[in-house]
Amino acid sequence: MKTWNKRCFPMTIVLVFILFLMGVLPGMAQEIKGPIRIIVPYAPGGSSDIIGRLIADKLKDILGQPAIVENKPGAGGRIGAEYAKNQPPDGSSMLVMNPALFVVSPLVYSKLGYDPDLDFTPVSQVQVYHFVLSVPATSPIKDVKGLMDWIKKNPKQANFGSPAAGSLPHFFGLMIGKYAGVEMVHVSYNGSGPLITALMGGHIPMGVDTYDAQSRYHPEKIRILATAGTSRKHPDIPTFKEMGYEIEGVGWNGIVVPSKTPKPIVDQLSQALVKIMKIPDVRQKLEQMGAEATGTTAEEFAKIIKQDRERWGPIIKASGFKAD
């Protein structure tokens, strides 16, 4: 019994000490220890994945730590978000986040596996994509004013398509209907591809999606009436604003980290992201995709999220949309 004590007591102390260090040190750490994982809550190949990979590629040069993308797809990104909130809050894990997960989901799910505000800290908004409204090229509608007139004259045919029910483009379409004073019927598709096909075939009179999803198609088949950002996305396509309509709609991708991540680390990451989004090669790649690099500070990003809630919240609530 004695020998047992003699041998084991010091070992226990050492063990307890090690455990203590393991528990405390990560919390105390003020610098990022790699490898860094960028959690993308979607399958590879989509826009979130591409931005994640672009960032990972540059991040490893700036922070000197290996950075990889981890895809955690499912349930429209909610599984990945739930997974990300439980990762160690030491700057080694971040999540690619968007308004669907941060703004819409909390309003339409009665049971959500994460709380955007309590579980995450915003780091930087990295890109925005403008919403567009387009009609088939064969359509008699030539511009936004013509569209508003057409909607008012043909309320029975006023259907609009969006890439998914409960997506921001869906609510953006409702916003346009509200502006025209007509309750338009929403026809949802299973993604951007089927929506474009239906639009090109003239099966629906108009469609709402992001610029990057629609701009690549034949101008002979689709006419983009207007983009919904603050500035023009394409020199020949006007914005709603300049046509005199107070309609604005942009989506974005941003980076967030688990909420307990220490402030200095958040700042360090945020500075790195600001730097990355200024690299010409990154900007050019996003431009080619039809998106736009931003790279905001953490504070600016938090403000954008707040503004978006104020903008979309009332529309989403008014639509009565519930997902579960």
Partner: protein, 155 residues
């Protein structure tokens, strides 16, 4: 009245269970109208048709004659061992990692066979795990936990 065809009888019952279950839970979602069908419309209708079909199949399986039954002894071991090995693999993948849980899967599922032999099962597991480490982990770089969680560290 006897059950002439017990397989059809049970299949009919299965359809009735699924059909009524679907129809009832479809009532949780809005049914809508034919012009504007809600999410409950289709499942409700399908559940209803399936129930009717199930009743039909059940009734058809009844007859005044008795079924000539071939007694086939039910063997439960293969099913239990195969299904439990899969469930265990799912349970143990995160805590124990791929290597150990694969061992468990191969050994337990092997027990379902009449020719079960522990030595062969273990060898088989060893060989398969090596193969998986080479193909999936080394070449294809699957994102799968390999070691038990306490040895893996954070990732």
């Amino acid at each position: 009245m006897y059950i002439k065809n017990s397989k059809d009888f049970k299949a009919g019952l299965l359809f009735i269970i699924f059909g009524t279950g679907a129809a009832f839970s479809a009532r949780l979602y809005s049914i809508g109208t034919t012009a504007k069908m809600g999410p409950g419309y289709f499942p409700f209708l399908l559940g209803l048709i399936l129930t009717i079909l199930g009743i039909l199949i059940t009734l058809k399986s009844l007859s005044r004659e008795k079924e000539i039954k071939k007694k086939i002894p039910l063997r439960i071991r293969p099913m239990i061992s195969v299904l439990s090995s899969i469930v265990l693999f799912g349970l143990l993948l995160y805590p124990l990692g791929m290597v150990l849980s694969s061992f468990i899967l191969v050994v337990i599922s092997s027990m379902g066979s009449d020719e079960f032999n522990m030595k062969i099962a273990l060898l088989n597991a060893l060989f398969l795990i090596l193969g998986i480490l080479i193909i999936f982990v080394y070449f294809l770089q699957f994102q799968i936990p390999i070691l038990p969680s306490f040895l893996r560290g954070r990732i």
